[in-house]
C-alpha cells in the first residue's frame, strides 16, 4: 500500500449508494481515484448524479457499499471521530439554524477538535482563528451576528471556519450555489490560494463549469455509468467533457473551452 501513503485521498473500487434492509441502490460503482496534497479538485456532474453522495461517503457520513476509502493511507472506517475532525473539514450548502452566534464565535468553533472538554480557546487557537479571518478577508466582520451577513459573506465565514479547523483536506458541497458571479470567482480564487500556498487538498462539488475549467487542477466527472478523473487539459482533449450532459441539447466546444447550445 505504498501508493496509498503518498496520496491524501485514495478511493479503491468504491461503490456508493443507499443501503436499506431490502435492497442496495447503487449510484456509482468501481470508483478508483487518487489525490495528491495541494490539489484543487472540482467534482462535476448533472443534478442527482450522486455528487453529494460521493462527498458524504468520503466524509464518512454515509457508508460505502463496497471498496475502501483511504485518507492519508488509513481507511476512513478506522479513524476515531476526533482524529477524523483534525483531518477533514466541511463547508456545506445547508442553511444554518437561527442563532445569535458572531462571526468570531463561528470561526472559533472550528477549533473544537483541539480545545479542552469545555472548549477553552487558547492563545494558539486565537492565532489560528485570526489567520483564518485574515485569509478570507472577514476580519472586519468579527463582531457581526451571522443573521446580519449576506450570502457571500456567510460563505466566506464558513470557509474561514474550515481553515481554522486546520485540516489537510477541505471538502465543499456546492459552496457557490447562492452567490453572484463576483463572489463565485472570489470564493474559487480563495480556495485556489489555499491549495497553492498552504498545500490544502480541496474537493469541491460544483455546477460552475466555466470557473472550474479555469481554476481546478483536476476534474472529477460523474456521469450515468462512469466516473472519470484527470487534469483539465487531458479531459478537454479526450472529449470526456462532451458527454457530461445529455448531448442532444448541448455540446462542449474544445476551442472555446465551454459548453454551447447545439
Amino acid at each position: 500500500m505504498t501508493s496509498a501513503k503518498k496520496n491524501i485521498v485514495d478511493l479503491q473500487h468504491v461503490s456508493i449508494g443507499y443501503q436499506s434492509r431490502k435492497k442496495h441502490t447503487i449510484i456509482a460503482s468501481d470508483i478508483n481515484v487518487q489525490l495528491h496534497k495541494g490539489t484543487l479538485v472540482c467534482l462535476l456532474g448533472k443534478n442527482g448524479i450522486g455528487k453529494s453522495t460521493l462527498l458524504r461517503s468520503i466524509t464518512n457520513v454515509q457508508p460505502v457499499l463496497s471498496g475502501e476509502i483511504y485518507i492519508k493511507g488509513t481507511s476512513i472506517r478506522k479513524f476515531s471521530p476526533a482524529a477524523f475532525s483534525k483531518t477533514i473539514s466541511l463547508v456545506l450548502t445547508e442553511r444554518l439554524p437561527e442563532s445569535n452566534l458572531t462571526v468570531y464565535e463561528i470561526v472559533a468553533l472550528g477549533r473544537q477538535p483541539y480545545t479542552n472538554w469545555i472548549g477553552t480557546v487558547t492563545e494558539a487557537d486565537k492565532n489560528f482563528i485570526d489567520k483564518a479571518l485574515n485569509e478570507t478577508n472577514t476580519h472586519h466582520l468579527s463582531d457581526q451576528k451571522i443573521n446580519e451577513l449576506s450570502d457571500g459573506q456567510l460563505q466566506k465565514v464558513m470557509i474561514a471556519r474550515a481553515i481554522a479547523q486546520d485540516t489537510e483536506l477541505i471538502i465543499l458541497d456546492e459552496p457557490t450555489a447562492h452567490l453572484d458571479i463576483h463572489h463565485k470567482i472570489e470564493t474559487f480564487s480563495l480556495l485556489k490560494k489555499l491549495a497553492q500556498e498552504f498545500g490544502k487538498t480541496i474537493i469541491i462539488s460544483t455546477h460552475e463549469i466555466q470557473i472550474a475549467l479555469q481554476l481546478a487542477d483536476e476534474l472529477w466527472l460523474m456521469k450515468e455509468n462512469s466516473f472519470t478523473a484527470g487534469s483539465t487539459e487531458v479531459l478537454i482533449d479526450n472529449g470526456s467533457l462532451t458527454s457530461l450532459f445529455s448531448s442532444q441539447l448541448i455540446t462542449f466546444d474544445k476551442n472555446l473551452k465551454q459548453f454551447i447550445i447545439k
Binding site: 466524509t59 457520513v61 471521530p81 476526533a82 477524523f84 475532525s85 483534525k86 477533514i88 473539514s89 466541511l90 456545506l92 445547508e94 444554518l96 439554524p97 437561527e98 442563532s99 445569535n100 452566534l101 464565535e105 463561528i106 468553533l109 472550528g110 473544537q112 477538535p113 480545545t115 472538554w117 469545555i118 472548549g119 443573521n147 479547523q165
Partner: protein, 325 residues
Amino acid sequence: MFLAILLNISLGSVSIPIKDIFNTFLDPASVKTSWRFIILDYRIPKAITAIIVGSGLSVSGLLMQTLFRNPLAGPYVLGISSGASLGVALLVLGTSFFSGSILATIGFNWSIALASSLGAFSVLFAVMIAANKLKNTMSILIIGLMFGSLSSALISVLAYFSSADQLQQYMFWSFGSLGNLSWTEIMVLTGVSFLGFFMVLFIIKPLNSLLLGENYAKSMGVNIQKTRRITLIATSLLTGVITAFSGPIAFVGLAVPHLTKLVFNTSNHKLLLPAVAISGAIIMLICDSIAQLPNSEFTLPINAITSLFGAPIVIWLLIRKRTLS
C-alpha cells in the same frame, strides 16, 4: 438575585419585617417563635424550591431548544411532564381502580413524587428507545409530542371516571406549588437537580457546535448520539424531579431561555447556561412572591402567575427586537 430571595422571603400571608428576617439568623432569641418557624420551615424552603425549579426548568428548556433547533421546544416537549401527570393521575384518580393503600403507607407527598417520577421516567425510557432507533432528531420531538397527547388522553379517560374529590386533588397538583416541601424533600430535589446540572457541564462544547447543525457538529468530532443521550437524560432528571415535587410548572422552561437570549444577545452556551439558570431562579422567585398576594390570606396557583406575567413580557420583547432564535 439576593434581592429577589429577600423579597420572596419577606412576603407572605403574615407580614414579617425585614429586620426580623435577618434577626432570625443573627439573633434568634429576639424574634417571635411563630415568625421564626414561618421563616425557617416554610419560607426559606419555598425560596430554595423556587430557585431550583426556576433554574432547572429554564436550563432544560434551553437544552431542548438547542438540541431540536426549535424555538418552541421546552422541557415538556419530550412528554416528560405528561408522563408525570399520568403517573399522578393514575395514583390520585385511579385509586378507585387500584387500592388506596400506597397513599396511606408512605404519605401523600412522597407517593405523589414517586408516581410522577415513575410516570416521567417511563415516558423518557420509551422516548430514549425510539431515539436510539432514529437518526433524525426532529422525529424524536414528534414522538415526544405523541407520548404527550397519549398521556393527556389517558388522563381525560381517568378523569371522566373519577369522583369530584379526586378530581379536585389532581387539579391542585397540576396547578403547581412551590411550598409544602419538607427539608428532606428539598434535599432530594436539590441532589437530583445538581446531578442534572453537573451533566450539562459536559455538553456545553458539543451544544455550541450543534448551533451550526448536526452535520457541521459531526464534522468537528462531536458524537451526536452521545450528546443527544446526555442531553435527554439531564433534561429528564431535572424536569422529572421538579415536576415530581412541585407539579407541572408551565411557561418558565419555554420563556426564560428566550428572555435570556434576547437580553444577553448571545448563543454561546458557556455564557448562556449560567445566565439562563440565574434568570430562571430570579423569575421564579418573583412569580412566587406575586403569587403570595402580599399580606393577604390567599395564595394563587403558581402556574397561573408564571403565564399571566411571563407571556406579555415575552411578547413585548419579541415585538421590540423582532427576532427569535
